[in-house]
Protein backbone atom coordinates (compact mmCIF):
# COMPACT_ATOMS: atom_id res chain seq x y z
CA UNK A 1 0.00 0.00 0.00
CA UNK A 2 2.56 2.50 1.24
CA UNK A 3 4.88 2.20 -1.75
CA UNK A 4 2.02 1.99 -4.25
CA UNK A 5 0.17 5.06 -2.99
CA UNK A 6 3.32 7.19 -2.70
CA UNK A 7 4.22 6.32 -6.26
CA UNK A 8 0.77 7.20 -7.61
CA UNK A 9 0.81 10.52 -5.77
CA UNK A 10 4.23 11.27 -7.21
CA UNK A 11 3.44 10.47 -10.84
CA UNK A 12 -0.14 11.64 -10.88
CA UNK A 13 -0.45 12.23 -14.62
CA UNK A 14 0.37 8.67 -15.61
CA UNK A 15 -2.05 7.21 -13.15
CA UNK A 16 -4.76 9.77 -13.88
CA UNK A 17 -4.57 8.70 -17.52
CA UNK A 18 -5.28 5.08 -16.73
CA UNK A 19 -7.96 6.11 -14.23
CA UNK A 20 -9.68 8.17 -16.90
CA UNK A 21 -9.59 5.26 -19.35
CA UNK A 22 -11.20 2.99 -16.76
CA UNK A 23 -13.67 5.75 -16.01
CA UNK A 24 -14.70 6.00 -19.67
CA UNK A 25 -15.06 2.24 -19.96
CA UNK A 26 -17.28 2.18 -16.87
CA UNK A 27 -19.31 5.01 -18.33
CA UNK A 28 -19.81 3.12 -21.57
CA UNK A 29 -20.70 -0.08 -19.77
CA UNK A 30 -23.29 1.63 -17.56
CA UNK A 31 -24.88 3.48 -20.47
CA UNK A 32 -24.88 0.36 -22.66
CA UNK A 33 -26.45 -1.76 -19.97
CA UNK A 34 -29.03 0.98 -19.35
CA UNK A 35 -29.88 0.96 -23.04
CA UNK A 36 -30.01 -2.83 -23.10
CA UNK A 37 -32.39 -2.75 -20.15
CA UNK A 38 -34.44 0.03 -21.68
CA UNK A 39 -34.81 -1.84 -24.94
CA UNK A 40 -35.65 -5.07 -23.19
CA UNK A 41 -38.23 -3.32 -21.05
CA UNK A 42 -39.69 -1.54 -24.07
CA UNK A 43 -40.14 -4.92 -25.69
CA UNK A 44 -41.73 -6.71 -22.81
CA UNK A 45 -43.31 -4.22 -20.42
CA UNK A 46 -46.87 -5.03 -21.52
CA UNK A 47 -46.14 -8.75 -21.32
CA UNK A 48 -44.82 -8.32 -17.79
CA UNK A 49 -47.99 -6.42 -16.89
CA UNK A 50 -50.10 -9.47 -17.82
CA UNK A 51 -48.52 -11.30 -14.91
CA UNK A 52 -49.17 -14.44 -16.91
CA UNK A 53 -47.66 -17.91 -16.66
CA UNK A 54 -47.78 -18.57 -20.36
CA UNK A 55 -49.33 -17.99 -23.75
CA UNK A 56 -51.23 -20.25 -26.14
CA UNK A 57 -50.48 -19.53 -29.80
CA UNK A 58 -51.22 -21.45 -32.96
CA UNK A 59 -48.46 -23.84 -33.93
CA UNK A 60 -47.89 -22.47 -37.42
CA UNK A 61 -47.31 -19.00 -35.96
CA UNK A 62 -43.77 -19.94 -34.91
CA UNK A 63 -44.29 -18.35 -31.47
CA UNK A 64 -45.23 -15.04 -33.02
CA UNK A 65 -48.26 -13.40 -31.41
CA UNK A 66 -48.96 -11.21 -34.39
CA UNK A 67 -49.42 -14.02 -36.92
CA UNK A 68 -50.95 -16.55 -34.58
CA UNK A 69 -54.64 -17.24 -35.24
CA UNK A 70 -56.87 -19.37 -33.08
CA UNK A 71 -60.55 -20.10 -33.61
CA UNK A 72 -62.04 -19.31 -30.22
CA UNK A 73 -64.63 -22.04 -29.67
CA UNK A 74 -66.27 -23.68 -26.70
CA UNK A 75 -63.68 -26.44 -26.35
CA UNK A 76 -61.39 -23.94 -24.62
CA UNK A 77 -62.11 -23.94 -20.90
CA UNK A 78 -60.94 -20.36 -20.35
CA UNK A 79 -60.87 -20.88 -16.59
CA UNK A 80 -57.43 -19.40 -16.16
CA UNK A 81 -56.87 -17.95 -19.59
CA UNK A 82 -58.32 -15.21 -21.68
CA UNK A 83 -58.22 -14.28 -25.35
CA UNK A 84 -56.17 -11.46 -26.82
CA UNK A 85 -55.91 -9.82 -30.21
CA UNK A 86 -52.87 -7.89 -31.23
CA UNK A 87 -52.03 -5.64 -34.12
CA UNK A 88 -49.21 -3.20 -34.83
CA UNK A 89 -50.31 -0.09 -36.67
CA UNK A 90 -49.58 3.61 -36.88
CA UNK A 91 -52.02 6.20 -35.57
CA UNK A 92 -52.60 9.91 -36.04
CA UNK A 93 -54.96 12.51 -34.65
CA UNK A 94 -58.14 12.69 -36.68
CA UNK A 95 -58.53 16.43 -36.21
CA UNK A 96 -54.94 17.48 -36.76
CA UNK A 97 -53.79 18.89 -40.07
CA UNK A 98 -50.28 17.48 -39.66
CA UNK A 99 -49.62 13.94 -40.75
CA UNK A 100 -47.56 13.10 -37.69
CA UNK A 101 -47.94 9.38 -37.17
CA UNK A 102 -47.03 7.29 -34.15
CA UNK A 103 -46.43 3.57 -34.19
CA UNK A 104 -48.44 1.69 -31.60
CA UNK A 105 -49.49 -1.82 -30.75
CA UNK A 106 -53.20 -2.54 -30.27
CA UNK A 107 -54.23 -5.14 -27.74
CA UNK A 108 -57.84 -6.31 -27.97
CA UNK A 109 -59.01 -7.73 -24.66
CA UNK A 110 -62.22 -8.85 -22.95
CA UNK A 111 -64.40 -6.58 -20.88
CA UNK A 112 -63.05 -6.47 -17.30
CA UNK A 113 -59.93 -8.27 -18.48
CA UNK A 114 -57.12 -8.77 -15.97
CA UNK A 115 -54.67 -8.06 -18.79
CA UNK A 116 -55.35 -4.33 -18.64
CA UNK A 117 -52.68 -2.45 -16.64
CA UNK A 118 -53.67 0.05 -13.98
CA UNK A 119 -55.85 2.88 -15.33
CA UNK A 120 -54.50 6.24 -14.19
CA UNK A 121 -57.18 8.49 -15.70
CA UNK A 122 -60.44 8.26 -17.60
CA UNK A 123 -62.71 5.22 -17.61
CA UNK A 124 -63.02 1.65 -18.85
CA UNK A 125 -64.04 0.70 -22.38
CA UNK A 126 -67.78 0.51 -22.79
CA UNK A 127 -68.29 0.09 -26.50
CA UNK A 128 -66.47 -0.53 -29.78
CA UNK A 129 -63.91 2.00 -30.98
CA UNK A 130 -63.08 3.26 -27.52
CA UNK A 131 -59.47 2.95 -26.48
CA UNK A 132 -57.31 3.24 -23.37
CA UNK A 133 -53.78 4.23 -24.22
CA UNK A 134 -50.38 3.94 -22.56
CA UNK A 135 -49.20 7.06 -20.77
CA UNK A 136 -46.36 7.49 -23.32
CA UNK A 137 -48.82 8.81 -25.86
CA UNK A 138 -49.42 11.87 -23.67
CA UNK A 139 -45.81 12.80 -24.32
CA UNK A 140 -46.39 12.91 -28.07
CA UNK A 141 -49.41 15.18 -27.69
CA UNK A 142 -52.45 12.94 -27.32
CA UNK A 143 -55.16 14.03 -24.87
CA UNK A 144 -58.12 12.35 -23.20
CA UNK A 145 -61.10 12.51 -25.56
CA UNK A 146 -58.93 12.83 -28.69
CA UNK A 147 -60.25 11.17 -31.82
CA UNK A 148 -57.63 9.17 -33.68
CA UNK A 149 -57.28 7.32 -36.95
CA UNK A 150 -55.48 3.97 -37.04
CA UNK A 151 -53.94 2.70 -40.26
CA UNK A 152 -56.52 2.43 -43.01
CA UNK A 153 -59.36 1.81 -40.57
CA UNK A 154 -62.22 4.04 -41.57
CA UNK A 155 -63.81 4.56 -38.18
CA UNK A 156 -62.49 7.00 -35.63
CA UNK A 157 -61.25 5.77 -32.26
CA UNK A 158 -61.68 7.76 -29.05
CA UNK A 159 -59.23 7.90 -26.16
CA UNK A 160 -61.36 7.32 -23.04
CA UNK A 161 -58.60 6.53 -20.56
CA UNK A 162 -54.90 6.27 -19.76
CA UNK A 163 -53.00 3.33 -18.37
CA UNK A 164 -49.61 3.46 -16.73
CA UNK A 165 -46.80 3.25 -19.26
CA UNK A 166 -47.20 0.05 -21.24
CA UNK A 167 -45.06 -0.91 -24.23
CA UNK A 168 -44.68 -3.87 -26.55
CA UNK A 169 -42.01 -4.13 -29.24
CA UNK A 170 -40.76 -0.72 -28.06
CA UNK A 171 -44.00 1.05 -29.06
CA UNK A 172 -46.83 2.24 -26.78
CA UNK A 173 -49.75 -0.12 -26.28
CA UNK A 174 -53.37 0.85 -26.91
CA UNK A 175 -56.00 -1.33 -25.23
CA UNK A 176 -59.44 -1.81 -26.70
CA UNK A 177 -61.95 -4.63 -27.02
CA UNK A 178 -61.44 -7.80 -29.04
CA UNK A 179 -63.88 -6.80 -31.76
CA UNK A 180 -62.23 -3.46 -32.52
CA UNK A 181 -58.83 -5.07 -33.09
CA UNK A 182 -60.46 -7.80 -35.16
CA UNK A 183 -62.02 -5.18 -37.39
CA UNK A 184 -58.75 -3.28 -37.61
CA UNK A 185 -57.08 -6.45 -38.75
CA UNK A 186 -59.55 -8.10 -41.06
CA UNK A 187 -62.09 -5.38 -41.88
CA UNK A 188 -65.61 -6.76 -41.58
CA UNK A 189 -64.61 -10.27 -42.81
CA UNK A 190 -67.33 -12.62 -41.46
CA UNK A 191 -65.05 -15.63 -41.87
CA UNK A 192 -62.81 -14.20 -39.15
CA UNK A 193 -65.63 -14.05 -36.63
CA UNK A 194 -64.39 -15.59 -33.35
CA UNK A 195 -60.78 -15.49 -34.52
CA UNK A 196 -58.31 -14.39 -31.90
CA UNK A 197 -54.50 -14.20 -31.81
CA UNK A 198 -53.79 -16.02 -28.58
CA UNK A 199 -54.83 -16.96 -25.10
CA UNK A 200 -52.95 -15.51 -22.17
CA UNK A 201 -52.73 -18.14 -19.46
CA UNK A 202 -52.62 -16.93 -15.86
CA UNK A 203 -52.34 -20.43 -14.41
CA UNK A 204 -51.54 -23.53 -16.41
CA UNK A 205 -53.65 -26.58 -15.79
CA UNK A 206 -53.95 -30.00 -17.41
CA UNK A 207 -56.86 -29.02 -19.63
CA UNK A 208 -55.58 -25.54 -20.52
CA UNK A 209 -55.18 -26.88 -24.03
CA UNK A 210 -58.13 -29.15 -24.89
CA UNK A 211 -57.23 -32.61 -26.22
CA UNK A 212 -58.84 -31.88 -29.59
CA UNK A 213 -56.59 -28.83 -30.18
CA UNK A 214 -53.25 -30.39 -29.26
CA UNK A 215 -51.98 -30.37 -32.84
CA UNK A 216 -53.24 -26.89 -33.65
CA UNK A 217 -51.97 -24.79 -30.77
CA UNK A 218 -49.06 -24.82 -28.37
CA UNK A 219 -48.41 -23.55 -24.89
CA UNK A 220 -45.40 -21.27 -24.34
CA UNK A 221 -44.16 -20.46 -20.85
CA UNK A 222 -44.01 -16.68 -20.56
CA UNK A 223 -40.19 -16.49 -20.50
CA UNK A 224 -39.81 -18.43 -23.75
CA UNK A 225 -42.57 -16.30 -25.27
CA UNK A 226 -40.58 -13.18 -24.30
CA UNK A 227 -37.36 -14.63 -25.71
CA UNK A 228 -39.23 -15.18 -29.00
CA UNK A 229 -40.47 -11.60 -29.24
CA UNK A 230 -39.25 -10.26 -32.59
CA UNK A 231 -35.73 -8.87 -32.17
CA UNK A 232 -35.70 -9.35 -28.41
CA UNK A 233 -32.95 -11.96 -28.05
CA UNK A 234 -30.87 -10.56 -30.89
CA UNK A 235 -30.88 -7.07 -29.35
CA UNK A 236 -29.98 -8.36 -25.93
CA UNK A 237 -27.24 -10.53 -27.29
CA UNK A 238 -25.71 -7.68 -29.28
CA UNK A 239 -25.65 -5.26 -26.36
CA UNK A 240 -24.52 -7.88 -23.86
CA UNK A 241 -21.70 -8.89 -26.19
CA UNK A 242 -20.60 -5.26 -26.39
CA UNK A 243 -20.58 -5.08 -22.60
CA UNK A 244 -18.53 -8.26 -22.32
CA UNK A 245 -16.05 -6.89 -24.82
CA UNK A 246 -15.72 -3.71 -22.78
CA UNK A 247 -14.93 -5.86 -19.74
CA UNK A 248 -12.31 -7.72 -21.74
CA UNK A 249 -10.81 -4.45 -22.98
CA UNK A 250 -10.68 -3.13 -19.41
CA UNK A 251 -8.76 -6.24 -18.36
CA UNK A 252 -6.28 -5.83 -21.22
CA UNK A 253 -5.77 -2.13 -20.67
CA UNK A 254 -5.03 -2.52 -17.00
CA UNK A 255 -2.80 -5.53 -17.67
CA UNK A 256 -0.76 -3.65 -20.28
CA UNK A 257 -0.52 -0.50 -18.20
CA UNK A 258 0.60 -2.30 -15.05
CA UNK A 259 3.05 -4.37 -17.11
CA UNK A 260 4.67 -1.28 -18.65
CA UNK A 261 4.83 0.41 -15.26
CA UNK A 262 6.46 -2.70 -13.81
CA UNK A 263 9.07 -2.76 -16.57
CA UNK A 264 9.84 0.89 -15.86
CA UNK A 265 10.42 0.01 -12.22
CA UNK A 266 12.62 -3.02 -12.81
CA UNK A 267 15.77 -1.33 -11.50
CA UNK A 268 13.97 -0.03 -8.45
CA UNK A 269 12.48 -3.44 -7.66
CA UNK A 270 15.96 -4.95 -8.11
CA UNK A 271 17.44 -2.56 -5.57
CA UNK A 272 14.65 -3.29 -3.11
CA UNK A 273 15.20 -7.01 -3.56
CA UNK A 274 18.92 -6.58 -2.89
CA UNK A 275 17.98 -5.00 0.40
CA UNK A 276 15.96 -8.07 1.29
CA UNK A 277 12.52 -6.62 0.65
CA UNK A 278 10.44 -9.75 -0.05
CA UNK A 279 8.81 -10.22 -3.44
CA UNK A 280 5.45 -10.53 -1.69
CA UNK A 281 5.79 -6.94 -0.45
CA UNK A 282 6.41 -5.70 -4.00
CA UNK A 283 3.53 -7.78 -5.38
CA UNK A 284 1.19 -6.46 -2.70
CA UNK A 285 2.23 -2.92 -3.53
CA UNK A 286 1.50 -3.38 -7.25
CA UNK A 287 -1.77 -5.22 -6.60
CA UNK A 288 -3.01 -2.56 -4.21
CA UNK A 289 -2.19 0.02 -6.86
CA UNK A 290 -4.23 -1.86 -9.44
CA UNK A 291 -7.13 -2.21 -7.05
CA UNK A 292 -7.07 1.48 -6.17
CA UNK A 293 -6.91 2.43 -9.86
CA UNK A 294 -9.88 0.17 -10.61
CA UNK A 295 -11.91 1.42 -7.64
CA UNK A 296 -11.27 5.09 -8.37
CA UNK A 297 -11.77 4.66 -12.14
CA UNK A 298 -15.04 2.78 -11.74
CA UNK A 299 -16.35 5.19 -9.08
CA UNK A 300 -15.62 8.19 -11.29
CA UNK A 301 -17.26 6.31 -14.16
CA UNK A 302 -20.39 5.86 -12.05
CA UNK A 303 -20.46 9.56 -11.19
CA UNK A 304 -20.04 10.46 -14.86
CA UNK A 305 -22.82 8.04 -15.80
CA UNK A 306 -25.25 9.46 -13.25
CA UNK A 307 -24.56 12.92 -14.61
CA UNK A 308 -25.12 11.73 -18.18
CA UNK A 309 -28.35 9.90 -17.40
CA UNK A 310 -29.93 13.14 -16.24
CA UNK A 311 -29.37 14.63 -19.69
CA UNK A 312 -30.43 11.66 -21.80
CA UNK A 313 -33.34 12.50 -24.15
CA UNK A 314 -36.65 10.98 -23.01
CA UNK A 315 -37.18 9.25 -26.33
CA UNK A 316 -34.17 7.01 -25.64
CA UNK A 317 -35.25 3.66 -24.23
CA UNK A 318 -33.16 3.69 -21.08
CA UNK A 319 -33.73 1.87 -17.84
CA UNK A 320 -31.38 1.51 -14.91
CA UNK A 321 -31.08 -1.71 -13.09
CA UNK A 322 -29.11 -1.08 -9.90
CA UNK A 323 -28.36 -4.76 -9.49
CA UNK A 324 -26.95 -5.04 -12.97
CA UNK A 325 -24.91 -1.83 -12.65
CA UNK A 326 -23.45 -3.14 -9.40
CA UNK A 327 -22.65 -6.47 -11.05
CA UNK A 328 -20.99 -4.86 -14.07
CA UNK A 329 -18.96 -2.46 -11.94
CA UNK A 330 -17.95 -5.32 -9.67
CA UNK A 331 -16.85 -7.28 -12.72
CA UNK A 332 -14.92 -4.27 -14.04
CA UNK A 333 -13.02 -3.95 -10.77
CA UNK A 334 -12.31 -7.67 -10.74
CA UNK A 335 -11.06 -7.84 -14.34
CA UNK A 336 -8.93 -4.71 -13.92
CA UNK A 337 -7.38 -6.22 -10.80
CA UNK A 338 -6.83 -9.49 -12.67
CA UNK A 339 -4.98 -7.47 -15.30
CA UNK A 340 -2.53 -6.48 -12.56
CA UNK A 341 -1.95 -10.15 -11.75
CA UNK A 342 -0.35 -10.55 -15.17
CA UNK A 343 2.70 -8.64 -13.92
CA UNK A 344 3.35 -10.78 -10.86
CA UNK A 345 5.52 -13.16 -12.87
CA UNK A 346 7.60 -10.23 -14.12
CA UNK A 347 8.10 -8.90 -10.60
CA UNK A 348 9.13 -12.34 -9.36
CA UNK A 349 11.66 -12.75 -12.13
CA UNK A 350 13.50 -9.48 -11.50
CA UNK A 351 17.02 -10.40 -10.41
CA UNK A 352 18.43 -8.46 -7.47
CA UNK A 353 21.95 -9.18 -8.75
CA UNK A 354 21.58 -6.58 -11.52
CA UNK A 355 21.46 -3.83 -8.94
CA UNK A 356 25.00 -4.55 -7.74
CA UNK A 357 27.93 -4.34 -10.04
CA UNK A 358 29.25 -0.74 -10.28
Amino acid sequence: MFLGIREMLHSKTKYLLIISVLMLITWLVVILSGLANGLAEGNRLAVDQWQAEGVIVSKEANRNLNVSTIKDDTTYQKKNSEPINQMSVSIQKAASASNKRTNVSFFGIQKNSSLLPKITAGRKIEKDNEIIASADLKEVGYRLGDQIKAGTYSKKLTIVGWTVKSTYNIVPVIYTNLETVRELKYGGDAAKEDTINAFIVSKKEKDTIPQSKKNEVEYLPIESFIQSLPGYSAQNLTLDTMIYFMLLIAAFISAIFIYVMTLQKTAMFGILKVQGVPTSFLVKSVMSQTLILALVGVSLGLILSSATIIFLPKSLPFANNIGEIALNCGLLIVVAALGGLASIGTIRKIKPLKAIGG
Binding site: L3, K273, V274, Q275, G276, P278, I356, G358
Partner: protein, 227 residues
Amino acid sequence: MERVLALKGVCKIFGTGHTKVIALEEVDFSIQSGEFVAIVGPSGSGKSTFLSIVAGLQNPTSGEVIIGQQKISAMTDREKNKMRFEKIGFILQSSNLIPFLKVKDQLRLIEKVNSSKKDKQLKKTLLKELDIEKLVEQYPQDLSGGEKQRVAIACSMYHNPQIILADEPTASLDTKRAFEVVKILAREAKEQNKAIIMVTHDDRLLGFCDRIMKIEDGFMEETTKKG
Protein backbone atom coordinates in the same frame (compact mmCIF):
# COMPACT_ATOMS: atom_id res chain seq x y z
CA MET B 1 34.14 -7.75 18.98
CA GLU B 2 32.76 -10.80 17.30
CA ARG B 3 33.32 -12.30 13.90
CA VAL B 4 30.22 -11.54 11.84
CA LEU B 5 31.27 -12.84 8.44
CA ALA B 6 33.72 -15.40 7.13
CA LEU B 7 34.52 -16.71 3.64
CA LYS B 8 36.44 -19.97 3.36
CA GLY B 9 38.06 -21.01 0.12
CA VAL B 10 35.46 -19.23 -1.99
CA CYS B 11 35.75 -19.64 -5.78
CA LYS B 12 33.49 -18.14 -8.38
CA ILE B 13 33.82 -19.26 -11.97
CA PHE B 14 31.67 -17.92 -14.81
CA GLY B 15 31.21 -19.84 -18.05
CA THR B 16 33.15 -22.86 -19.30
CA GLY B 17 35.83 -23.62 -21.88
CA HIS B 18 37.42 -20.59 -23.52
CA THR B 19 34.67 -18.27 -22.14
CA LYS B 20 35.67 -19.33 -18.62
CA VAL B 21 36.28 -16.42 -16.23
CA ILE B 22 37.61 -17.03 -12.76
CA ALA B 23 36.17 -14.05 -10.85
CA LEU B 24 37.21 -15.23 -7.39
CA GLU B 25 39.86 -17.81 -6.53
CA GLU B 26 40.27 -19.43 -3.11
CA VAL B 27 39.23 -16.32 -1.21
CA ASP B 28 39.54 -16.48 2.57
CA PHE B 29 38.21 -13.48 4.42
CA SER B 30 36.66 -12.56 7.71
CA ILE B 31 35.52 -9.39 9.40
CA GLN B 32 34.53 -8.45 12.92
CA SER B 33 31.94 -6.01 14.14
CA GLY B 34 33.27 -2.49 14.38
CA GLU B 35 35.74 -3.10 11.56
CA PHE B 36 35.90 -0.97 8.40
CA VAL B 37 37.50 -2.86 5.53
CA ALA B 38 38.23 -1.51 2.06
CA ILE B 39 38.36 -3.68 -1.04
CA VAL B 40 40.45 -2.34 -3.90
CA GLY B 41 41.49 -3.69 -7.25
CA PRO B 42 41.38 -3.00 -10.97
CA SER B 43 38.19 -3.13 -12.97
CA GLY B 44 36.96 -6.65 -13.58
CA SER B 45 39.02 -8.08 -10.73
CA GLY B 46 36.00 -9.51 -8.90
CA LYS B 47 35.08 -6.87 -6.30
CA SER B 48 31.38 -6.71 -7.07
CA THR B 49 31.26 -10.48 -7.38
CA PHE B 50 32.74 -10.70 -3.91
CA LEU B 51 30.04 -8.42 -2.44
CA SER B 52 27.20 -10.23 -4.16
CA ILE B 53 28.42 -13.58 -2.87
CA VAL B 54 28.69 -12.18 0.65
CA ALA B 55 25.09 -10.99 0.34
CA GLY B 56 23.89 -14.36 -0.92
CA LEU B 57 22.84 -12.83 -4.26
CA GLN B 58 24.81 -15.49 -6.08
CA ASN B 59 26.20 -18.81 -4.97
CA PRO B 60 29.95 -19.46 -4.93
CA THR B 61 31.14 -22.21 -7.24
CA SER B 62 32.91 -23.71 -4.25
CA GLY B 63 33.79 -22.68 -0.73
CA GLU B 64 31.65 -21.52 2.15
CA VAL B 65 30.18 -18.20 3.28
CA ILE B 66 29.24 -17.98 6.96
CA ILE B 67 27.20 -15.10 8.32
CA GLY B 68 27.06 -15.10 12.11
CA GLN B 69 26.84 -18.82 12.75
CA GLN B 70 24.89 -19.70 9.59
CA LYS B 71 26.19 -21.13 6.33
CA ILE B 72 24.58 -19.31 3.40
CA SER B 73 24.74 -22.42 1.24
CA ALA B 74 22.26 -24.13 3.57
CA MET B 75 19.66 -21.36 3.20
CA THR B 76 16.65 -21.28 0.90
CA ASP B 77 16.10 -18.19 -1.25
CA ARG B 78 13.47 -16.98 1.18
CA GLU B 79 15.85 -17.39 4.11
CA LYS B 80 18.58 -15.57 2.21
CA ASN B 81 16.16 -12.73 1.58
CA LYS B 82 15.29 -12.55 5.26
CA MET B 83 18.96 -12.76 6.20
CA ARG B 84 19.73 -9.82 3.88
CA PHE B 85 16.92 -7.78 5.34
CA GLU B 86 17.92 -8.60 8.92
CA LYS B 87 21.69 -8.53 8.77
CA ILE B 88 22.97 -6.64 5.75
CA GLY B 89 22.72 -3.02 4.76
CA PHE B 90 23.57 -1.82 1.27
CA ILE B 91 24.96 1.41 -0.06
CA LEU B 92 25.24 1.34 -3.83
CA GLN B 93 27.19 3.47 -6.25
CA SER B 94 24.25 5.37 -7.62
CA SER B 95 22.28 5.72 -4.47
CA ASN B 96 19.65 3.10 -3.81
CA LEU B 97 16.95 5.65 -3.02
CA ILE B 98 13.40 5.29 -4.32
CA PRO B 99 12.74 8.30 -6.60
CA PHE B 100 9.16 8.92 -5.47
CA LEU B 101 9.72 8.77 -1.72
CA LYS B 102 10.60 11.72 0.49
CA VAL B 103 13.64 11.16 2.69
CA LYS B 104 11.48 10.42 5.72
CA ASP B 105 9.50 7.88 3.69
CA GLN B 106 12.67 6.13 2.51
CA LEU B 107 13.17 5.27 6.17
CA ARG B 108 9.52 4.51 6.77
CA LEU B 109 9.59 1.99 3.92
CA ILE B 110 11.79 -0.23 6.09
CA GLU B 111 9.17 -0.06 8.87
CA LYS B 112 6.49 -0.98 6.36
CA VAL B 113 8.37 -4.07 5.23
CA ASN B 114 8.85 -5.17 8.82
CA SER B 115 7.14 -3.23 11.56
CA SER B 116 9.47 -4.63 14.21
CA LYS B 117 12.19 -2.45 12.69
CA LYS B 118 10.42 0.69 13.85
CA ASP B 119 12.80 2.51 16.16
CA LYS B 120 12.15 6.21 16.70
CA GLN B 121 15.28 6.72 18.73
CA LEU B 122 17.56 5.15 16.12
CA LYS B 123 15.92 7.17 13.38
CA LYS B 124 16.47 10.37 15.27
CA THR B 125 20.08 9.50 15.97
CA LEU B 126 20.78 8.61 12.33
CA LEU B 127 19.17 11.77 10.99
CA LYS B 128 21.24 13.82 13.40
CA GLU B 129 24.55 12.01 12.95
CA LEU B 130 24.31 12.11 9.16
CA ASP B 131 23.11 15.71 9.27
CA ILE B 132 20.02 15.14 7.14
CA GLU B 133 17.35 16.25 9.61
CA LYS B 134 16.53 19.24 7.46
CA LEU B 135 16.11 17.13 4.32
CA VAL B 136 13.32 14.81 5.52
CA GLU B 137 10.64 16.50 3.41
CA GLN B 138 12.68 16.38 0.18
CA TYR B 139 12.66 13.98 -2.73
CA PRO B 140 15.96 12.37 -3.87
CA GLN B 141 15.93 14.44 -7.08
CA ASP B 142 16.27 17.61 -4.98
CA LEU B 143 19.33 16.36 -3.05
CA SER B 144 23.00 16.79 -3.89
CA GLY B 145 25.10 13.68 -4.52
CA GLY B 146 26.61 13.80 -1.04
CA GLU B 147 23.23 14.30 0.60
CA LYS B 148 21.84 11.36 -1.36
CA GLN B 149 24.65 9.11 -0.17
CA ARG B 150 24.14 10.26 3.40
CA VAL B 151 20.46 9.39 3.16
CA ALA B 152 21.43 6.04 1.61
CA ILE B 153 23.73 5.42 4.56
CA ALA B 154 20.91 6.24 6.96
CA CYS B 155 18.65 3.76 5.13
CA SER B 156 21.30 1.07 5.14
CA MET B 157 21.67 1.42 8.89
CA TYR B 158 18.07 1.98 9.96
CA HIS B 159 17.16 -1.69 10.02
CA ASN B 160 20.13 -2.20 12.30
CA PRO B 161 22.20 -4.65 10.23
CA GLN B 162 25.44 -6.20 11.47
CA ILE B 163 27.18 -5.83 8.13
CA ILE B 164 27.13 -2.96 5.67
CA LEU B 165 28.23 -3.52 2.08
CA ALA B 166 29.14 -0.44 0.06
CA ASP B 167 29.95 -0.77 -3.64
CA GLU B 168 31.81 2.39 -4.66
CA PRO B 169 29.65 4.64 -2.48
CA THR B 170 31.73 7.68 -3.38
CA ALA B 171 31.92 7.19 -7.15
CA SER B 172 29.48 9.96 -7.93
CA LEU B 173 30.96 12.44 -5.47
CA ASP B 174 33.69 15.06 -5.60
CA THR B 175 36.71 14.61 -3.34
CA LYS B 176 35.41 16.75 -0.52
CA ARG B 177 32.06 14.95 -0.42
CA ALA B 178 33.76 11.57 -0.81
CA PHE B 179 35.91 12.25 2.25
CA GLU B 180 32.85 13.29 4.21
CA VAL B 181 30.97 10.10 3.36
CA VAL B 182 33.88 7.81 4.13
CA LYS B 183 34.50 9.61 7.41
CA ILE B 184 30.90 9.00 8.35
CA LEU B 185 31.22 5.32 7.46
CA ALA B 186 34.34 5.00 9.60
CA ARG B 187 32.59 6.70 12.48
CA GLU B 188 29.46 4.55 12.19
CA ALA B 189 31.57 1.40 12.16
CA LYS B 190 32.98 2.41 15.53
CA GLU B 191 29.97 4.06 17.13
CA GLN B 192 27.29 1.64 15.96
CA ASN B 193 29.66 -1.34 16.03
CA LYS B 194 29.04 -2.33 12.40
CA ALA B 195 31.19 -4.40 10.10
CA ILE B 196 31.58 -2.34 6.95
CA ILE B 197 33.03 -3.57 3.66
CA MET B 198 33.59 -0.82 1.11
CA VAL B 199 34.66 -1.32 -2.49
CA THR B 200 36.50 1.73 -3.80
CA HIS B 201 38.77 2.94 -6.57
CA ASP B 202 39.95 5.97 -4.71
CA ASP B 203 43.25 5.37 -2.89
CA ARG B 204 42.96 8.63 -0.95
CA LEU B 205 40.03 7.24 1.02
CA LEU B 206 41.91 4.25 2.34
CA GLY B 207 43.32 6.15 5.32
CA PHE B 208 40.00 5.88 7.10
CA CYS B 209 39.88 2.09 6.86
CA ASP B 210 41.11 -0.47 9.36
CA ARG B 211 42.24 -2.97 6.74
CA ILE B 212 42.69 -2.93 2.98
CA MET B 213 42.13 -6.03 0.86
CA LYS B 214 43.38 -6.03 -2.70
CA ILE B 215 41.80 -8.23 -5.35
CA GLU B 216 43.63 -8.95 -8.55
CA ASP B 217 42.43 -11.50 -11.09
CA GLY B 218 40.28 -13.11 -8.42
CA PHE B 219 43.02 -13.44 -5.82
CA MET B 220 42.53 -11.52 -2.58
CA GLU B 221 45.30 -10.45 -0.25
CA GLU B 222 45.73 -7.92 2.53
CA THR B 223 47.95 -4.97 1.65
CA THR B 224 49.79 -2.59 3.88
CA LYS B 225 48.03 0.60 4.71
CA LYS B 226 49.11 3.69 2.89
CA GLY B 227 48.97 6.86 4.94
